[in-house]
Amino acid sequence: MSGTATYRDAVRAGIRDALIRDPRCFLMGEDVGRYGGCYAVSKGLLDEFGPERIRDTPLSESGFVGAGIGAALGGMRPIVEVMTVNFSLLCLDQILNNAATIRHMSGGQFSIPVVIRMASGAGRQLAAQHSHSLEVWYAHIPGIRVLAPATLEDAQGMLWTAIVDPDPVVIFENVMLYNMTGSLPAEVRPVDIDKAAIRRAGTDLSIVTYGGSLWKCMAAAAALAEAGIDAEVIDLRTLRPLDDETIMASVRRTRRALLVDEGWRSGSLAAEIMARIVEQCFWSLDAPLARVCSEEVPIPYPKHLEDAALPQVSAIVEAARRIMGAR
């Protein structure tokens, strides 16, 4: 399993591992079986595990996500794939009002160990209805955990961590990452999800991001390095709960922060992190915080407009420079 693999392979390895290790585990969702998954994540799993455990569902997001929640209540460990976050609007009620709520509301009688995976993000010219990044909505919900693996190791390892988590876990897989290649560890290990990761250490400013935007930030950091600006890049990894400690430690060191988030600007996750930095590190800041988010428009189809709507390396570099130049 080690060697060159894609992010898609990593997710698949994580799912496969979970299916092998835990007989209560099964995968369910639209086209996860015969089709092999809309992003080919589950290809081959139907042959290996059969239709009971690789369960193709009808187009009924609320129905099968609710069924996943019910099955988890009933003692199973379902992995429910909602093809993309765009369709997850149809099952938000189940996630918020049931998965996230039943434990507290019942006085702690039930845990709901369901894992809900979904692809998110834009960049494939799929236009307005198929390009959402709504991670922040999910990160707003008490009672669930929200993960956004940005590396192969996380894509694989977070799956098992999510499975053994007794509470509902929502995993966002950015669509632009599926083809990303790298190497997978020979052995599947659960990864810790309590900590954000410093993907690049730096001293001049902290760039905080997650998911697909991580790699844009890494590219921006490289470009900034050439211009003599040493950026630290933090990959949040877990969007709920947020790892304030790592973020604040970084910002206290660098005294400047830039947030990069593919979500629309107003009400973005970037805003939440800015709010926390101001609450916790205000006196350490040497410059206003800034963010690079998506333009507040439905994402258009043509490449040049889609590019213009999304955070790009150049915009990240520019924003970082502005922060460094401020006062």
């Binding site: 099964f26 009971e52 569902t57 009808p58 009924s60 609320s62 129905g63 099968f64 996500v65 609710g66 069924a67 996943g68 929640i69 019910g70 099955a71 988890a72 209540l73 009933g74 003692g75 199973m76 379902p78 009620d93 189940q94 009002n97 049931n98 039943i102 434990r103 507290h104 509301m105 019942s106 006085g107 702690g108 009688q109 039930f110 845990s111 160990p113 008490p142 009672g143 955990r145 961590t161 053994v164 988590d165 007794p166 509470d167």
Partner: protein, 332 residues
């Protein structure tokens, strides 16, 4: 008594007593709740089940301890009929931590792990997919257990109703869908909410076996539920029962009932499931009027005890507010 009950001559005295007793428990409990609501001991929304008791009591007869139950915000009756302790249910109405949900849920969110009672769901239709999932878990484990979903006829208009029926049928899951058709969804009469008001007919779209039954007749409901559960346990896939019933009270405590005539309510009250069954059981020689009185006294005492329990209950400390948002401790 209608024909269906007459079809069931094998009713033992003990069972007749049990049926009446359970229905009376619900009735008396809820009448007390209404009173406590006006005293502001119970707050929030309170949806009374009065008039519909035959449904919960009839269906529960067909279930075993291993079977799961999903209900709605009008679920006191189901909780009691399932065997939840009345004191804990009453404490829940009060919001006391001795309540079945630690007081966190109140009237609309009674849960009980031991009784496999999965709520108490205040989103109309929201419990149906959960029931499908519970049944899926049973099926994957080949446990032989079934799951019952109770819901109102109003829920039949929601998309989740449709998605749930299709999933259950497609995967031949042991779900018993029990539609309690009380003719109104809040103030909306069935005829203005469904183009096909015979709800049981909708099951045909999913090739689900279905029947309509007199929901005021506890014996008829029980008989239908037994047939259905038998079929579920045989692995025949889901079953759908429409119980035709009526709620005698307002939708909730805030409802002026502008949408229906008093005369209509009075007409239905003549078919009170408790009185009808009691009268019939006496006439059939199954129960003596003294026994009925005894049931009344017994239930009154139980309600009084429940109220005392709730009154004596304590408030969860504010410091516990964040407890159980997430599961504490290690991963399972």
């Amino acid at each position: 008594m209608t024909g269906a009950a007459a079809d069931k001559p094998h009713l033992s005295r003990a069972h007749a007593r049990e049926l009446l007793h359970q229905m009376q428990r619900i009735r008396s409990f809820e009448e007390k709740c209404a009173e406590l609501y006006t005293q502001e001991k119970i707050r929030g929304f309170l949806h009374l089940y009065i008039g519909q008791e035959a449904v919960a009591v009839g269906v529960m007869q067909a279930l075993e301890a291993r079977d799961g139950i999903v209900a709605t915000y009008r679920e006191h009756g189901h909780a009691l009929a399932r065997g939840l302790d009345m004191g804990r249910v009453m404490a829940e109405m009060y919001g006391k931590q001795e309540g079945s949900s630690r007081g966190r849920g109140g009237s609309m969110h009674i849960f009980d792990a031991a009784g496999r009672f999965y709520g108490g769901n205040a989103i109309v239709g929201g419990g149906l997919p959960i029931a499908v999932g519970l049944a899926l878990a049973e099926r994957m484990r080949a446990s032989g257990a079934v799951c019952v979903a109770f819901f109102g006829e109003g829920a039949a208009a929601e998309g989740e109703f449709h998605e749930s029926l299709n999933l259950a049928a497609l995967w031949r899951l042991p779900v018993l869908f029990v539609c309690e058709n009380n003719l109104y969804a809040m103030g909306t009469a069935l005829r203005i909410s469904e183009s096909e008001p015979e709800i049981w007919r909708k099951a045909a779209s999913y090739r689900i076996a279905a029947e309509a039954v007199d929901g005021m007749d506890v014996v008829a409901v029980e008989a239908a539920a037994r047939r259905a559960v038998h079929s579920l346990r045989e692995g025949e896939g889901p079953f759908f029962i429409e119980c035709r019933t009526y709620r005698f009270r307002a939708h909730s405590m805030f409802d002026a009932q502008l949408y229906r005539q008093k005369a209509e309510v009075e007409e239905w009250k003549k078919r009170c499931p408790i009185r009808m069954f009691g009268d019939w059981a006496v006439a059939a020689g199954l129960l003596h009027p003294d026994e009925i009185e005894a049931i009344g006294r017994e239930v009154e005492a139980e309600v009084a005890t429940a109220v005392r329990f709730a009154e004596a209950g304590t408030w969860e400390p504010v410091a516990d507010l964040r407890r159980d948002v997430m599961t504490p401790g290690e991963a399972s």
